[in-house]
Amino acid sequence: MSLDRLQQAWKAESSQVRVTFDADQLGREVQQSNDAFRSIIFKRDVREVGVALVMIPLWIAMGIRSSSLWTWYLMIPVLLWIVGFMLVDRRLHPQLPSEPGEPLLCSLRKSLAQVEHQIWLLRNVFWWYLLPPAVAMGAFFIHSSWETTESWLGAILMTTIPGIVVYFVYRGVYWLNQTAVEKQLTPRRNDLVKLITNLEGECSEEDSIEMMNIASSLNETDGRLHLERTNAIAAETWNRIIPSWREVAWIVIPTILSAYVGYRLSFEPAGRVAMRSVGAAVGVFLIILFRLGYVAHRRHKGQPLTGAEQTHFNLPARTIFALMLLLVLLAFVAFFIDAPKRKMRDKPDAVELDSRIEEAPDRADDHKVELL
């Protein structure tokens, strides 16, 4: 069959097709899509930058309220650094929606640059995101331990427990980021490099066949789709951990029970009733949530998150998410209620003060006798 004949048939078919479209609806769809994108960007910025900005005055208020040591305030420059870093990075490397009017190769190169930047960001997450708060927290723990125990051994012992907790949390965060680089970003970069090489230069037919399977990698680097997918993956993760109301019951019932136990049991070093109840509830909540996360991880082993299965949080997952936010709020409230009490605990109580006052004249007389 001659290719010229195919070309003729191709062109003839084009002339027999007519497309009609609703321009007004098209405009509305584009507007809705742009609004949705702006909304995603706004939510992301609020989540990542806004939370840090809210934390700064809150941190100062907490420090003043509880008469904290000066090392407590080291976290403020750290929060400012993280916010500043994110804002500058967003400005220099904005995640814009793709520009489809560009030549294909140009679009591919832009996608590659975006992926490479994401890889750089996550590879260096320790230096710009994890290390600064770790230094600030470490300084505060050591300082407060030293002030309390006034011995190196005591300070080290008191710092060890929070240090271990922070270490494991950091290890988890770092591992998640590096896994994302290895499992998602690096293969995507390799695919893009292959596509670009394929378009730019000479390559064998075997290489060309490989291209069939990797075109979808482009989709991952589109700013709009990347953000939508990130949200979808977050939803999928939560839905895997809390797939039904049974898991909600697993979390809620022990959390309420532990809050009640904290309320009933009188354990003075743990603070006031509010602090004891919320502390117990938060502890149990986190333990069960991590346990369910581990179970979900085991259950879905070998099934990577794609963001394609579920794009929205299911109702049980939303419930637990709301409960988590409520507990965070209650923890702050409890902290503020408990702070004056702690200050009082650190000072001598009224009876002790009275006895000191009573002893004071006798001591003065003793001094007079000694002088005479």
């Binding site: 520009e99 030549p103 482009l218 989709n219």
Partner: protein
């Protein structure tokens, strides 16, 4: 950049180049639903990027760029996001007189086989073949894809050979029954 009403420009351009949108959509999808879905996505992307059209390329080149970039970015996994969209476009096949109808059917069969062969090509080669079938010059193809004209020549020759082989390997409708 565009002094005329964008809606009017878009409507006019789409009348002229709607077939390229449909061809790209069909070449990069396997089912009718996916084809409709991708065609709608191309329209949305074209409308979205119309204000940024600088006039450096011809509308035909620009439409092809948008269509091919969207097709390569398009992913079936995004369907949940789009399933609530109302249909944006309607495709009509024009009816010809009875003398031509026989030839039309024959051509349609030929085009069907051609699409079947195109579906077996690598995605970057599909782009080249579509541009070739639409009778674009090497310069226009290079402009759409962002590669050099010499590269277009080398790649197109290879793609044409592969296409011819695949096309010949495609069974003609009715042939299998006869044998």
């Amino acid at each position: 950049m565009l002094e005329e009403d964008p809606k009017a420009i878009f409507t006019r351009w789409l009348e002229e180049h709607s077939s390229s949108v449909l061809k790209v959509a069909r070449a990069y999808t396997l089912t009718k639903e996916d084809c409709q879905d991708l065609a709608q996505e191309i329209l949305l992307q074209a409308w979205r990027s119309l204000p940024k059209f600088a006039g450096k390329a011809s509308p035909a080149t620009w439409f092809y760029r948008v269509a091919l970039n969207t097709a390569m970015n398009w992913h079936r996994n995004d369907r949940p996001r789009r399933q609530f969209q109302r249909p944006l476009l309607e495709v009509q096949t024009l009816v010809t007189n009875s003398d031509d109808s026989c030839r039309q059917v024959e051509q349609q069969e030929l085009v069907e086989r051609l699409y079947a062969a195109i579906h077996q090509l690598p995605c970057t080669e599909v782009a080249l073949v579509l541009l070739y079938l639409d009778d674009m010059s090497y310069s226009e193809m290079a402009n759409v894809l962002g590669i050099s004209e010499s590269n277009v020549g080398v790649r197109l020759n290879r793609a044409k050979k592969v296409l011819a082989t695949l096309f010949d390997a495609e069974p003609v409708e009715g042939e299998a029954d006869e044998s």
